[in-house]
């Protein structure tokens, strides 16, 4: 019997980058286009090695503009596709991230975040691209962004990223900080049959009746035909109607299209968003953290409890759409919310927006160091 080479069932010792590549293969990714960049290069290297083994395509493009364009093309030709990059490349990809959002191309973009702006700190961890992930391309649109805090989760969330991109026909970002990407940990890869995979909805009507951008069902997501299937459909980055025809001078078409692109995510926010809640039920002080920072935060919360402080942790797994409800649930009774981030203030702005009445303490961190548990603990203790 031929082994399932895409799903390496068993226990492995991997880095976050490698686990992400294995997660992609397990999710059914069969096309990767990329451009080398620290600290994401290992994902491309692993995909170059592994994709041919499973009959998939690896291509090294001439730049990140091309990488992003190529994965949209491959997605429209029927393959689950991915690229991986870091800040400077993510900036270049914004152009075609907008195209993917506008033409509803399922695809996954991994951004291993380093320090910015510009070339910044190629080898150091950062969480400075969180707002760029949401707002990076021009115009109004919604995307989904996930943030792993362990190597195992880099594997799991890459699969989740593909599933969400297929379900909602939207680009999904895995925002991994450099620390998680280069951290080595044990990863358990399940059996292929135990991994739940989602595939894009296909048209149920014959070619003559197919409207490529007409949603079917309550989720506002249109079924997706692919090139070569006989549908002779047209897709464009211009404002278009349900048939895919450009209608750039119609306010109604623009409103219907843009509102649907946003609402298909906003209306499903509770289905999409995930957080991890630790000792939050009776918490009077809470930390909201994501990525590698949440590991120090967890340690700080445990130490605070040992000292008799009613502390809790809300770990954001989904960053976009922002898990507002998860925060609102405890915001009113929390005396203080501590938000440590590897940036100069990004997710904290969202927390301030949702938890309007809470006392919020922001802990920025730039450079190389990570937040220590005692730094976060100190902020928790200040409440007493």
């Amino acid at each position: 019997m031929t082994k399932n080479r895409a799903v390496l069932t068993g226990e492995h010792f991997l880095s976050g980058d490698l686990a992400c590549a294995e997660g992609a293969l397990a999710a059914g990714c069969r096309f990767f286009a990329g451009y080398p960049i620290t600290p994401a290069t290992e994902i491309a290297e692993r995909m170059a090695l592994r994709l041919p083994e499973v009959g998939g395509i690896y291509i090294q493009m001439e730049d990140e503009l091309a990488s992003m364009a190529a994965i949209i093309g491959a997605s429209y030709a029927g393959l689950k596709s991915m690229t991986a990059t870091s800040g400077p490349g993510f900036s270049l990809m914004q152009e075609n991230i907008g195209l993917a959002a506008m033409t509803e191309a399922p695809c996954v973009v991994v951004n291993v975040m380093r320090g910015g702006p510009s070339t910044g700190q190629p080898t150091k961890p950062g969480q400075q691209d969180v707002m760029q992930a949401k707002w990076g391309s021009h115009g109004d649109y919604e995307i989904i962004a996930l943030s792993p805090n362990s190597v195992q989760e880099a594997f799991n969330l890459t699969i989740e990223a593909f599933n969400l991109s297929e379900a909602y026909r939207v680009p999904v970002f895995l925002l991994m900080d450099e620390s998680v990407a280069h951290m080595w940990e044990k990863v358990v890869i399940p059996r292929a049959e135990d991994i739940k995979l989602v595939n894009r909805k296909k048209p149920s009507v014959p070619p003559g009746e197919y409207a490529p951008f007409r949603p079917e069902g309550d989720d506002l997501v249109p079924p997706m035909a692919c090139f070569g299937e006989g549908y002779h459909f047209h897709a464009t980055g211009l404002t278009h109607d349900e048939l895919g025809n450009p209608k750039t001078d119609s306010p109604e078409t623009q409103f219907n299209l843009v509102s649907r692109l946003c609402e298909k995510i906003r209306r499903n926010v509770d289905k999409i968003t995930k957080t991890e809640k630790v000792m939050l039920d009776d918490a009077e002080v809470a930390v909201i953290a994501y990525g590698v920072v949440s590991r120090s935060a967890l340690s700080a919360v445990k130490k605070a409890r040992e000292k008799g402080i009613k502390a809790g942790l809300l770990r954001l797994i989904t960053l976009w759409p922002f898990p507002e409800r998860h925060i609102a649930e405890f915001a009113d009774r929390a005396k203080r919310i501590v938000v440590p981030e590897l940036n100069y203030g990004q997710i904290v702005r969202e927390v301030e927006r949702v938890a309007k009445n809470a006392s919020i303490k922001f802990l920025p961190k730039l450079g190389e160091d990570l937040h220590t548990p005692s730094e976060i603990l100190k902020a928790l203790e200040e409440i007493e």
Binding site: F31, L65, P246
Partner: protein
């Protein structure tokens, strides 16, 4: 009595009738290029289900919306990069990029040279109208030296690209240049390119009287077509480096028709080899 139901356009099966009339100005060469392309597809009796037309931004970029085939209108300059993903994901498809000189050679120049270098099986048809027509006639990478445009009001001070030389030097295995007055040769050339595997490139010098011509003493499509007729010289398989495009002379013809393994052939052979090796190891 005229039987109206019997009147049809010979190309209508290849076009999205709901999208006609097109946006192009009178005297524009884009319609001729579209006709030549559909004529070539018709002559070859190609399966319309297996053709994908990809375009970028600009006047000719709208062509993707007019063909009754799978089609995608990408961002500015990225048609070839998008097409690369399409071709590799489904190598059974004939992938044709139809776009303009500014789209393919200014903002998209990097993608063109790399796709040609790889010899990926993508067919590129470039409408060269010497300027950015859709934005109102600005100077671009093919605008002749000294020509007047809205952003070269004192005459263009930049040297233009020789596109067939660039394509040949980058590794394209089929390279030709025609004008919109050489319709039958253009159609035959597109047919030849569609039948051949590898990266193919056809430049079509195309009149833009409304935006470019009127600033350069050629106010009508007819004047521009007469000019193309007067200055064009066919020199098949001459040195593309010497194939000039100037006000006085345009060298046209086929310049390159060679064989070289295509990117996807090598890629899929590699994948097969890796898979066999993996199976043996199990």
């Amino acid at each position: 009595m005229v039987q109206h139901e019997n009147i049809f356009h010979p190309m209508e099966v290849f076009l999205r009738k709901s999208r006609i009339p097109h946006i192009w100005c009178s005297g524009c060469g884009n319609g001729i290029i579209l006709h030549s392309f559909t004529e070539a597809v018709k002559e070859l009796e190609m399966d319309l289900d297996k053709i994908v037309v990809v375009s970028g931004i600009g006047c000719i970029g709208r062509v993707a919306g007019y063909v009754n085939m799978d089609s995608f209108h990408t961002t500015h300059g990225r048609a070839i990069a998008f097409a690369t993903g399409v071709k590799l994901a489904n190598p059974e498809l004939t992938v044709v990029v139809i776009s303009g000189d500014g789209d393919l050679f200014a903002i998209g120049g990097n993608h063109f040279i790399h796709a040609a270098r790889r010899n990926i099986d993508i067919k590129v048809i470039c409408a060269n109208n010497f300027n950015y027509g859709m934005t109102g006639g600005q100077q671009g990478p093919t605008t002749p030296l000294e020509a007047y445009t809205t952003t070269s009001p004192y005459g263009n001070i930049e040297h233009p690209f020789n596109l067939v030389h660039l394509a040949a030097a980058s590794g394209a295995t089929y390279v030709a240049r025609w004008t919109t007055i050489h319709v039958r040769r253009l159609t035959a050339s597109i047919q030849k390119m569609l039948q051949k595997r590898g990266f193919g490139f056809i430049e079509v010098i195309s009149p833009c009287p409304e935006i470019y011509g009127r600033r350069n003493k050629m106010r009508t499509g007819l004047e521009m077509m007469n000019w193309l007729k007067k200055v064009s010289t066919i020199k098949n398989f001459s040195d593309p480096a010497k194939a000039e495009v100037s006000r006085e002379k345009i060298v046209i013809g086929e310049f390159v028709d060679t064989e070289k393994p295509t990117f996807e052939t090598i890629l899929y052979e590699t994948i097969r080899w890796v898979q066999e090796k993996a199976e043996q190891g199990e």
